[in-house]
Amino acid sequence: MNLTFTAEEQAFRHEVRDFLATSLPAAIRERVRLGRRLSADDHVRWQNLLSQRGWLGANWPEAHGGPGWSPVQRHIFDEECAAAHAPTVVPFGVSMVAPVLMKFGSDAQQRHYLPRILDNRDWWCQGYSEPGAGSDLASLRTRAERDGDHYVVSGQKTWTTLGQHANMMFCLVRTDPAAKKQAGISFLLIDMSSPGVSVRPIITLDGAHEVNEVFLDEVRVPLANRVGAEGEGWTCAKFLLTHERTGIAGLGHAKQALRHLKSVAAHVQQRGRPLLEQPSFRQRVVKAELELMALEVTNLRVIAAARDGGVPGAESSLLKVRGSELRQELSDLTRRALGPAALPFFPDFLHADTELADAEQREAAAASAQYFNRRKLSIYGGANEIQKSIVAKTILGM
C-alpha cells in the first residue's frame, strides 16, 4: 500500500502545470482568482485552448478524440487546473451529454454531436429539474407527444445552469403518461433556437445569473433527436448520475480554497497579530486541514478503485457529502476571516467589467457572494440528504 504517484504521473503533473502556466490567459486567471464571473467568451476561449491541446474531453476515450487519461491523470489535471485558477470546464456537453451519447446514442448522433462538443461549436445545458420535480426527479411532467416524425414538447424546466448561453439542451420528458413513473421518460436533444423555447433568468442570492427557467411551448423536436429507445430516458439519466464521479469531491477546489483561506487569515490582522495565529480561529483552520487530509485519501481510494476497473457507484455519494460540506466550511471561514471587509458588495465588479481601485476591496469582494453561492453544493446533483438515502439503500441495504 502506498500513497505516492508514479514517476510518469508526476511528469504528467508537470506537463499540465507547464501548459497552464503558458496557455491560461492572464486576464481569465485573474478573474477566476478574484472570484469574478466569467463571460461566455471567457469560457469558450479557455475551452478552445484546451481543445487545441487535445485536453478538453478529459474523460473521453481516445476513440472519440479524448486524451484517454486514467482516473489518476484526470484527478491530477483537475487539481492543477484549480491550483492555477483555470475556469472549470462547463460540464454539460463534455462530461454529461457526451458520455450518454457514447453509451446510448446512434452512430449518426455520435458523429454529429461529439465533434461539435469537442470544438465548442455547441453549448449544452441540462433540462432535468422542474418546478414540481426536484429531488423527486422522476415525477417530471414536461410531456412529449408524437406528431409524425416529431415530438411536440410542452412544459417547464428550471435551475438550468448557464442555459442563457446554450444552443442545445438535453432534456428528460414524459413520452408515456400512462406508464409507471420512471418508465415513461425519454431523453431528448432540443435545439434552443426552436420556436417555443424561451429562457428566463433566475437571480440567486449572491446576485448572480447562473441558473434559468426554460419554458417549452409546443416545441417540435425531431424523433431523430431521441437518445436511446422511447421510455428509456431514465436509464440514461441514471447512467449520467453514476458515471465518472471520481471528481465529485471537488478536491482540487477544496485544496485551493484552503490555500486561499490560509493566505487571507495570515494577512488579516486582529489586535496586532495575524488572525491565523489566534487560537480559536486557527483551530477552525486546523480542523478543515484534517478534514481535507482525510477526504484526499478517501478520494484517492475511489480513484484507485476506478483505475483498477471498479465502478465508482455509491462511494461517490460519500465524497459528494463530505466534499460539499468541506467546501462550504472553507467558504464560511474565508468570509469570517475577512471580517468587516466581507460586508461591501460590488456586483458590477463581480459580474461585469467595472474595476475596483482599492486593492483590499478587490481581494475581498467575492468572499461573501461565494459563501452564499456555495450553499448550492449540498443541494445540486442530488441533495446531500438524497445522497445519504442512496448510501443507506445501496451500500447499507436499509
Binding site: M1, N2, L3, T4, F5, T6, E9, V72, R259, K262, S263, A266, L276, R282, Q283, V285, V286, K287, E289, L290, E291, M293, A294, L295, E296, V297, T298, L300, R301, I303, A304, A305, D308, L318, V321, R322, E385, K388, S389, V391, A392, I395, L396, G397, M398
Partner: protein, 377 residues
Amino acid sequence: MDFSYSDEQRMLAETLERLVADQPAVERSASQLPPATREPSPLWQTFAELGLLHMPFAESVGGLGGDGTDLMIIMQALGHGLVPEPYLAGLLLPGDLLARLATPEQRDRWLTPLLEGEHQLALAWQERDARYDIHAVTTSAHRQGAGWRLEGAKQLVMGADLAAAVLVTARIADEGRDVERLGVFLLPSSTPGLTRHNYPTIDGQPASDLVLDGVMLDEHACLSENAAAALDATFAVGIAALCAQAVGAMQASCEQTLAFLKERRQFGTPLSTFQALQHRMVDMHLHLEQARSMAILAATSLDLPAPERDYRIAAAKAYCGESARFVAEQAIQLHGAMGMTEECLVSHYAKHLVMFDHYLGDSDYHLEYVSERLSAA
C-alpha cells in the same frame, strides 16, 4: 498509488479474520480482564506460532519485516474482534523501542523471547503531571558507580503486572551533563524498589502505577541515554497501530448497529426503514471511511522523515479520536436502552472507542501539535 493488499497481506487478513471470529465474543470482550497471570494465553501462543508477534519487527532483530500496512491489517482485525490480548501494550510499544535501542545481548535476553511469545513487556512512559507528553519526564536516573539509581513514579503502565520487565523512561540527571536527555531503562519486574499498584481501566485493560524508590540498576539495564528520537519513532508506530485498531472496532460497531436496525421492529416495521435512523447510520459510515483513510495515511507514513511522519500521525490520531467517539455515541443511541447494558456487545465497543482517545494522546493534544506546525501556505 496503491490501496490494495499483496497476496501475503490478503492471506494475513483472512487468517486473522478467522482466528478472531473463532473467539467467543462477549466472554473475551475487553471489558473483562484477562486472568492476571504471566502465562501467555492460548490465543497469544497461536499468534506466536503464526508469526504475528514477529510481523512488525525488522528482520535484522529477528522479526518478519512487516510494514505499516501489515501492522494495520493485524490491528484492524484485533480491534474488530475486541481482542483483549495486549498486542500494542505488551508487544509492540516495548518491543519497538527495544529493537531501536537494545544491544545484541539485550535483544537476546528480552526481545527474542518477546517475539516467541514467551513473555510480555511493558512501557512506562506516562507521568501524573505530564498528561500525554512523552518528553515531559521527571523520573530521574542518577549515575551510581558503574550503574544507576532511579527515583520517581509512572502511571497508567498498561500490562505492567503481566510483564516480565518494564521499560522505564527517565531523565538523565548526572552532574555536569546535558539535563535534557531522556534515557530508557529496563527493569525486571522483581527489581527491588519497584512497586506496582494495579487497577483496571474503564475499558477493561490491566494498568498499574509504578513507584521507583531508590531502584538500583547495573549498567546493562540502560538501553539508551539519549532516546528521545527513538521514543518519537516508537510512538508513531504505536499511534498508527492504535488508529487501525480503532477503525476495526468502528467497523464492528457499524456492522452490529446496522444488523440491529434491520432486525429490531417498532411501529410494526424494522427500524432500518426510518429515514432519520438511516441518515444517522450513514453518518456513522462516513466517519468510519474517513477514519479509515486517516489510518491508511498513518500506516503509510512511518518511513517518512520524522517531521512529516509526526505531522501525519498527529493528524490521524486527532481525526480518529473524534470519529471513534462519534461512532460509539451513535451506536449506543441507535441501540436504544439496550446499548446502555453490559450485556450488549456494542457497549463494550463503545467503551473501547471512547477511551481510545485517552491512549497515546487525545484529539486535543494532537490537534495542538498539528496547529503548532500548520503550514501557512
